[in-house]
């Protein structure tokens, strides 16, 4: 595994300046750069792939390393389950310690590579009044979406009408990108997930 870990770490060191610029409030300048840390064996951040945020910024999953993240797969034109999923993440966030609220990333990954362009995702955050500094809405290609969904345990299938059947799952990733808590189903209680996150 060593080669992969250090290749990823080397790539991260190249990306670190860009991330510091994009999300400077997330960085801890007094600490050594995350690039010095080898990636954990079970880290989801080992997945390759380039994503684009709702602000049009390029992002690799390994860029999220260093702070906990709440990751949820959804799609923008979904009017039933998906707004509930966004609200579930918001409810979880509101239960977090204020200090953690400043650190955690709320990552919404679209299943719909065709329709959910970064521009559409930006309009989505504006419609729902979501803070662009706190929420990351990611657009990627179909293969990378399938890879991430499968690692997290999200099943989905594109229907003929362009909509998606999908399982509903909110995943907590620790600072290394390891799956550390999962909330399955819609509108579930978030207290346990919050307690878990606060203790990370």
């Amino acid at each position: 595994m060593k080669t992969l870990i250090w290749a990823a770490a080397a790539s991260l060191s190249l990306l670190a300046p860009a991330m510091a610029q994009d999300h400077s409030h997330h960085q801890h300048h007094s600490q050594p750069p995350q690039a010095a840390e080898p990636m954990a064996e079970h880290s989801v951040y080992q997945l390759q792939g380039q994503w684009t945020t709702q602000l049009g910024q390029s992002l690799a999953l390994r860029d999220l390393q260093g702070q906990p993240a709440i990751v949820t797969l959804f799609y923008g034109s979904c009017t039933t389950a998906c707004p509930v999923l966004v609200n579930d993440v918001k409810r979880l966030y509101q239960l977090l310690d204020p200090q953690l609220q400043q650190q955690v990333r709320l990552v919404m990954v679209s299943l719909d590579s065709e329709r959910d362009t970064p521009e559409v995702m930006r309009a989505y955050t504006e419609n729902y009044g979501l803070d662009n500094d706190r929420w990351l809405f990611l657009h990627g290609n179909d293969a990378d979406i399938r890879g991430l969904a499968t690692v997290l345990g999200v099943r989905y299938r594109k229907r003929d009408d362009g909509n998606f059947d999908h399982s509903n799952l909110v995943t907590v990733l620790d600072r290394e990108g390891r799956v550390s808590f999962r909330v399955e189903g819609l509108a579930q209680p978030m207290e346990k997930a919050a307690a878990h996150l606060n203790a990370l």
Binding site: M1, A7, E41, R155
Partner: protein, 252 residues
């Protein structure tokens, strides 16, 4: 079983390379799905694609891991396998003579995807693979009954045949059934009805609910859908391998 609306003569074959069968063209068409994941979508349009004529062999996979050491048994990340990855090989980059041309097994979905990506391809989708399976049955002249019999014989003793060599000079689809089960890109099934999600994990009523038409062949096919769906992407087993698909190939 309803035949595909294409003739065998429409299938173009690429010239085989030494030691490895070339991908074959699978002409697009309508796929009358034997398993109805959408009750209102009985047939699905499949675009033309190319599919490896045979499953990927141990030797082909060895060449891949030699070029990409991250995917060697001793290096692969824990995230991408269940602990048995390539455990049948004598060492990280050593295979036996008997394994050379046999389908590679003990490979996770992640490793299969990485291999196909390195070849400029990808794993076939479930619909593509099953559509090709129907074409294969036509090419082999398999009756529904023979197909079902072969498949159930394999299910009852799946380890018996996977170590036999593949036809390296195959010029049409080979070994689609009866050697190994094969990874596809979207192997996990899901049915959603409102907020309820059903992953078809094996209740007795599933087959009756989802078969387009209840007969032996569709029942055997459904068994494949279901067994594939029950795997986790990290799983590596003695009966699970893969072949790659391609969107574009140079016409011969």
């Amino acid at each position: 079983m309803k035949w595909l609306g294409i003739g065998l003569c429409a299938v173009a074959f690429a010239a085989p390379l030494m030691g490895a069968a070339e991908p074959v063209k699978i002409p697009g068409g309508l796929f009358d799905t034997p398993v109805l994941l959408d009750s209102d979508t009985p047939s699905i349009a499949v675009e033309t694609f190319w599919l490896d004529a045979t499953p990927v062999t141990n030797h082909q996979f060895l060449t891949f891991v030699q070029a990409q050491p991250d995917w060697q048994r001793g290096n692969i990340a824990a995230l991408f396998h269940d602990g048995s990855y390539l455990s049948h090989w004598p060492a990280d980059t050593v295979i036996t003579e008997q394994q050379h041309d046999a389908p590679v097994t003990y490979v996770s979905w992640f490793a299969a995807r990485a291999y196909c990506e390195a070849q400029g391809g990808r794993l076939p989708t479930l619909n593509e693979w099953e559509y090709a399976s129907v074409l294969y049955r036509q090419q082999q002249g398999l009756t529904d009954e023979d197909y079902a019999r072969q498949l159930f014989a394999w299910y009852s003793n799946p380890g018996a045949s996977q170590q036999q060599p593949v036809a390296a000079d195959a010029q049409q689809l080979a070994h689609m059934h009866g050697r190994i089960n094969e990874w596809v890109e979207d192997f996990q099934l899901l049915i959603q009805s409102g907020d309820e999600v059903d992953v078809l994990s094996g209740s007795c009523g599933d087959s009756a609910r989802f078969l387009a038409k209840f007969n032996q062949a569709n029942y055997a096919t459904f068994f494949r859908y279901q067994s594939r769906s029950d795997y986790a992407a990290q799983n590596t087993t003695s009966t699970l391998g893969f072949r790659c698909a391609y969107d574009q190939r140079n016409e011969p």
